[in-house]
């Protein structure tokens, strides 16, 4: 008598499961799994940056021996002494005014790039283009006796790095926004390992944290700051769809409108009058007017397909990357394409179809507007055989009106976080999506793509660590 194959499969699983009774993931493996999940969630929730919008990003990565790391003991090119001019420079600078004192050697800690001590008055001398970064480096094995390193670092545009303040090991801090010259920064914070901390401010001289008092619904999430000081926030009343709030620099929160049940990060238009977010079906875009709350849904007209919203090309149109669900397996045969969509008329213009050697942007990818009309985004560089699936990005590309251009990134990277300010593109790159986790590096690319390493991948110094990097670019 034959048995149904489904029964045989189910019995095989039951037999095996019984033999494995009591099996649990090892603490180290489970800690790594949690870290990888946090990493994905942070990347997914990371703040989108565009021209005129505070640029920030966050990457979590593990640092393992043998990975590409920062082993250079050389001090940053711009080496200040520990004393600075008593009168802060009011104009943007690349570093603090230095005295003729002897150079201070950089110091290294596991999971941190080498840094110099921050001279008094450093923050007041910072200008647009400086980066504020929070590194938290913890042992990969929770049973390890190695200490957690958690520090706030200021990075000059030339890559000089200054350790501002050390933070509590059990605290998690995500940077959200920072004005050049300011001694405090907007953050989300909470106990380490916990999503959805509260928002507030950190004193960059002392590390003291102060909670926001914004009268927004619980669980509100910071989205962006507009040039007039207004900040945008999202939250969902439970139960209820996600809504957008605007909070003026002084005044009460104003409910702008409803984004939807599921959404990607809202992207602010160049004139900062509207936001756009991808609807959950990845087949339409929701557009909200920040002033009036007027809401429209723009159909991307991809029946049997889906799109990624890469960003605003101009005040009227967005750039989307689409493909069809039907067709042969390889993505390249599923009509991958970049499309410009007019959000007022829903008119669609295919800018280019994508072939082998060109970028395929996965749904949910976050692009940044580097310069007017130029959007950078992580992508998978297509080959002839890669099928549709949960592929990880392996490259970064820019679209401008004149075409596509590949941005240089470290070999083997498969996780990218982008920010843009001043016409430059900042890329935090690491591995860990599909490849073995490596620590993040942070590189600035000028309009001609010439790179400046702001922070090389940190050296774990013999300790297997998981490093969280979150950063913002001052403007």
């Amino acid at each position: 008598m034959t048995r149904d194959i489904a029964d045989l499969l189910a019995d095989a699983v039951d037999d095996r499961a019984r033999a494995l009774t009591g099996l649990l993931p090892t603490p180290a493996a489970f800690a790594l799994t949690r870290a990888r999940i946090r990493r994905r969630r942070i990347v997914r929730h990371s703040v989108e940056a565009g021209v005129g919008i505070a640029a920030s990003g966050a990457v979590v990565a593990g640092a393992w021996l043998g990975a590409h790391v920062d082993r250079s003991p050389a001090p940053p090119a711009h080496t200040p002494s520990t004393s600075v001019s008593p009168t802060p420079t009011p104009t943007p600078t690349t570093g603090p005014t230095t005295s003729a004192g002897p150079a201070v050697p950089p110091t290294a800690s596991p999971g941190l790039p080498t840094t110099l001590p921050a001279p008094d008055g450093l923050l007041a001398t910072t200008g647009p283009g400086w980066v504020l970064a929070a590194y938290r480096s913890a042992p990969a094995d929770p049973a390890s006796s190695a200490t957690v390193v958690h520090a706030m670092i200021a990075i000059a545009p030339d890559g000089a790095r200054y350790r501002l303040v050390d933070l509590p090991a059990d605290q998690s801090v995500e940077l959200l926004d920072w004005h050049a010259g300011d001694s405090r920064a907007r953050v989300s914070y909470g106990p380490s390992g916990v999503d959805g901390g509260v928002t507030g401010w950190i004193d960059l001289r002392t590390g003291a944290l102060t909670r926001d008092d914004l009268a927004l619904p619980a669980g509100h999430v910071y989205e962006a700051r507009l040039d007039d000081g207004t900040t945008l926030w999202t939250a969902n009343l439970d139960p209820g769809p996600v809504r957008l709030w605007a909070v003026p620099e002084s005044g009460s929160p104003r409910l702008v409108g409803q984004l939807g049940d599921h959404w990607t990060k809202p992207r602010v238009s160049p004139s900062q009058t509207r936001v756009a977010a991808l609807a959950p079906t990845a087949a339409s875009v929701v557009v909200l007017d920040v002033a009036t709350g007027a809401r429209s849904t723009v159909d991307l007209a991809v029946p049997g397909g889906e799109c990624a919203l890469l960003g605003w090309l101009d005040d009227r149109s967005v750039l989307v990357s689409c493909f069809d669900h039907t067709g042969p397996d390889p993505i390249v045969q599923r009509n991958p394409r970049l499309v410009q969509v007019d959000v007022d008329t829903s008119a669609r213009t295919t800018l280019t179809t994508l072939g082998v050697g060109q970028p395929f942007a996965l749904t949910g990818v976050v692009g940044v507007t580097v310069r007017p009309g130029t959007i950078a985004f992580p992508a998978y560089t297509l080959d002839a055989v890669i099928p549709m699936g949960d592929v990880c990005p392996n490259s970064v590309w820019e679209w401008s009106g004149s075409g596509l251009r590949q941005v240089p990134v470290p070999q083997g990277s498969d996780t990218f976080q982008l920010a843009a300010a001043g016409g430059n593109l900042d890329v935090a790159a690491s591995a860990g999506c599909a490849a073995r986790i490596t620590p993040p590096s942070l590189t600035r690319l000028a309009p001609d793509l010439s790179p400046t390493v702001l922070a090389p991948a940190p050296d774990p110094l013999g300790v297997a660590t998981q490093t969280t990097l979150t950063w913002v670019v001052a403007r």
């Binding site: 149904d4 499969l9 019995d11 499961a17 019984r18 993931p25 493996a29 999940i37 099928p387 949960d390």
Partner: protein, 179 residues
């Protein structure tokens, strides 16, 4: 603790043996199976879906095990060939993790995609459409993989194929090139 963490811990604490057992239908090494489960947990809890119950989350993890397994076979032709060779070597000694049963040995005769399709169709009870979506394959390919896989399993195990699932071969020859 974040909203997803208690659910992750429940799934890992209470369902880990069952999940590893499922993964062992696809891969012969317990270490690989555990890696696969970890990957599936990351894919499940790092995604956008929200779960009300551990059972709901576990269902996603099960599907993710199959999709991550197939993704691993997509890393390159060399790896695909190697995986295929191992998969078809029924005489290969089982890796650490205990002796495999006859079903696991029979599954090892199938290509990775055939295995994933058979498991999703006949263990997880997904439709052809759902299986295609989970694995990122065309429906025609799924039908072909299930048909070929079931033919082998039926021959080796003498198992019965449910009449309603008797495979129908409808695909073009092109769809077979990466099997």
């Amino acid at each position: 603790m974040a909203g997803w963490e208690p659910m992750l811990e429940v799934v890992a604490r209470e369902r880990y043996p069952q999940l590893v057992a499922r993964a062992l239908l696809l891969t012969r090494s317990r270490a690989d199976a555990e890696d696969l489960v970890q990957d599936a947990l990351v894919a499940t809890f790092g995604g956008r879906a929200r779960f009300e119950t551990a059972a709901q989350a576990e269902q996603y993890v099960r599907r993710a095990i199959a999709s991550r397994f197939v993704d691993r076979t997509r890393k390159g032709a060399r790896e695909r060939v190697a995986l295929g060779r191992v998969a078809h070597d029924a005489t290969a000694a089982p890796d650490e993790g205990g002796l495999p049963g006859s079903v696991e040995c029979a599954l090892a005769l199938l290509s990775p995609r055939q295995r994933a399709c058979v498991v999703l169709r006949h263990l997880e009870d997904l439709s052809v459409h759902e299986t295609a979506r989970v694995l990122g394959l065309s429906e025609g390919s799924v039908k072909r993989y299930v048909a070929d896989g079931m033919a082998t399993l039926t021959r080796v195990l003498g198992a019965a194929v449910p009449p309603e699932r008797t495979p129908v071969v409808l695909v073009k020859e092109d769809d077979r090139r990466d099997s």
